[in-house]
């Protein structure tokens, strides 16, 4: 076996690949089943963006908290939320992560530090400031990570939170997942500055831009600023430039894209392909080992889907449950 040139050991590399493959397979399966009409409501898929969630979450533990977005499945999986509970939630079943009452846009598991996907864009940023404040008050070295897309990076909540985190010196990392589109609107048009690094500088914190399709680039940049936040060095911003393989939501005809754009990004900017080629070419991991993971992940998603479809619906009395702790 060749010498490992990567910043992670083989087990960790396999874990990263498994996480990314699980996200991809989860989303691809939803893409197929949504088109069949099996899934209520609407879903926003994370396929194409797996390296970002995974490269960041590899540095976190259950004590660290994240606030996610409407496109939250990848964050959930990378943060360790149970895939069966997620799938059941998306199917509106009582075995779901939120007992079927949240759905795709509100999957949460506070025991894993996952404070919820969020249907309100930019709303996670103030919440994660609070999570980071709680960690700071307790002195438990926990950090908070909030994700926004390039779209929600224009929300007042996000910009106010950059300022608050800097003023209170909170252990927060603001991750801008720049996939180039706010729904259908181009980032180049809607974001007034040329670089998110400039925006971070304006709020008195370091900013880093990385190729979000390169797992290692995300992993290394995130590691440094998360360590800094954990050690009391304060907040930072990480921009991950990435690609979205599907529309804003499922059913989006994506007429705003350039001709051939999707084919091109799938061919040249698939983060899973990039990661597997690198580890295989380096001789650290065999292709057969990755294929074995693929088979296991396929079986997991198949099982989660079958279980979700067979799971009981919430009981009628659940309609009125859990509005308050006590009322």
């Amino acid at each position: 076996m060749a010498q490992n040139p990567f910043p992670l050991g083989k087990d960790e590399l396999l874990k990263a690949y498994r996480t990314m493959r699980t996200i991809r397979e989860f989303e691809e399966r939803l893409h197929v089943d949504f088109a069949k009409g099996d899934i209520p409501g609407f879903v926003h898929l994370y396929a194409g963006e797996e390296a970002c969630a995974t490269g960041i979450m590899m540095h976190l533990n259950d004590n660290d908290r994240i606030a996610s977005t409407h496109r939250g499945h990848g964050h959930c999986i990378a943060k360790g939320v149970d895939v069966h509970a997620m799938m059941a939630e998306i199917y509106g079943r009582s075995t779901g992560a939120c007992r079927g009452k949240g759905g795709s846009m509100h999957i949460a598991d506070l025991s894993k530090g996952m404070m919820g996907a969020n249907g309100i864009l930019g709303a996670g940023a103030p919440l994660i400031c609070g999570a980071a404040l709680a960690a700071k008050v307790r002195g438990d070295r926990g950090v908070g990570i909030t994700f926004v897309g390039d779209g929600a990076s224009n929300q007042g909540t996000f910009l106010e939170s950059l300022n608050l985190a800097a003023v209170w010196n909170l252990p927060v990392v603001f991750v801008v997942e720049n996939n180039g589109y706010a729904e259908s609107t181009a980032m180049e048009w809607a974001v007034s500055c040329d670089s998110y690094v400039d925006r971070a500088t304006g709020f008195g914190m370091p900013g880093v831009t990385v190729d979000g399709t390169d797992f290692f680039a995300v992993y290394e940049a995130a590691g440094e600023i998360i360590r800094r936040a954990r050690d009391g060095g304060g907040p930072a911003l990480l921009e991950c430039n990435m690609v979205r393989f599907y529309g804003h939501f499922e059913g989006d005809a994506q007429t705003y894209r350039a001709k051939g754009e999707l084919e091109a990004i799938r061919a040249s900017r698939d983060c899973l392909t990039i990661l597997s080629e690198r580890v295989v070419e380096a001789g650290v991991i065999g292709r057969d080992e990755l294929q074995a993971i693929d088979r296991e992940v396929n079986a997991l998603i198949e099982d989660a889907t079958r279980a979700a479809k067979a799971a009981p619906l919430p009981a009628p009395e659940d309609l009125l449950r859990d509005v308050y702790v006590a009322y």
Partner: protein
Amino acid sequence: MSRKISMKQAINEALDLEMRRDPTVIVMGEDIVGGTGAQGEDDAWGGVLGVTKGLYAKHGDRLMDTPLSESAYIGAAVGAAACGLRPVAELMFLDFMGVCFDQIFNQAAKFRYMFGGKAETPVVIRGMVGAGFRAAAQHSQMLTPLFTHIPGLKVVCPSNAYDAKGLLIQSIRDNDPVIFCEHKNLYGLECEVPAESYAIPFGEANVLRDGDDVTIVSYGLTVHRAMEAAATLVKDGTEAEVIDLRTLSPIDWDTIVESVERTGRLVVVDEAHPRCNLATDIAAFVGQNAFGALKAGIQMVTAPHTPVPFAPSLEDLYVPSADSIASAVKRTLSPKGASPRIAA
């Protein structure tokens, strides 16, 4: 030991006692310490009206001044609550809810239900409500109906120092998000308040005055106007029962219905605007559940459907007065059907 203190002092005392009792209680808001980062004295203000004055000296960094940035710090209070702290966030004037309402009604209020009962968000958002301070349209509103409309929020509005202390202590200990509404024109009002800690349970109205002829229901400042009206009505031989709701969500339906079943007449007084407010809510509930007991049409006395005016002469007309409440009582005593139509 009991002594006379103002509602402002009672709120300060409740915060102090709960911070002593529970290290997870933190207090944040704009200028609640005052003078942070400035050259002058520490703890310079204790809030714009001095409600939190002196707490920084006792509790240090657990009192946190914030940037003028309501969305960020109210959201941070909500997030910290979901992560095990018990934050009390001062929103100064609850009119400012407009800029941070998402963090309250889409986040705090929904976490528990939306996450399948697996979250608790014990945050208190407290601030001033109400007119009569010559503070004009954006610093004077009684927005309580906006809050009571939202499932997941609890809404408290005390009318005196004793209730303010006990209800704020309960609010901090409560495991749901609470909007704590402090009428700015009651801050200076004094009454007997025990020095020790006590909690007043939610959903228990206070019957301030017994009477068999008519039930008057209100909350906040207008409770006092209702008591004035009741005192004048005695001259005509009318004994009014006056109910102070204290908490608006949950609300003590039993006490209201029990009283109306005895008196047969109801006047509801609300400083909020007339459409879809506490008065209409209570009138509808009584109409549905105690119609047979009613001897006259239910009367509502509210602020008009206008913003709060600045000119003192107009603002004095805006808030329900003792006279308008007494007139409403008299209408319920007229023969059935003889009431003039009251414009909303």
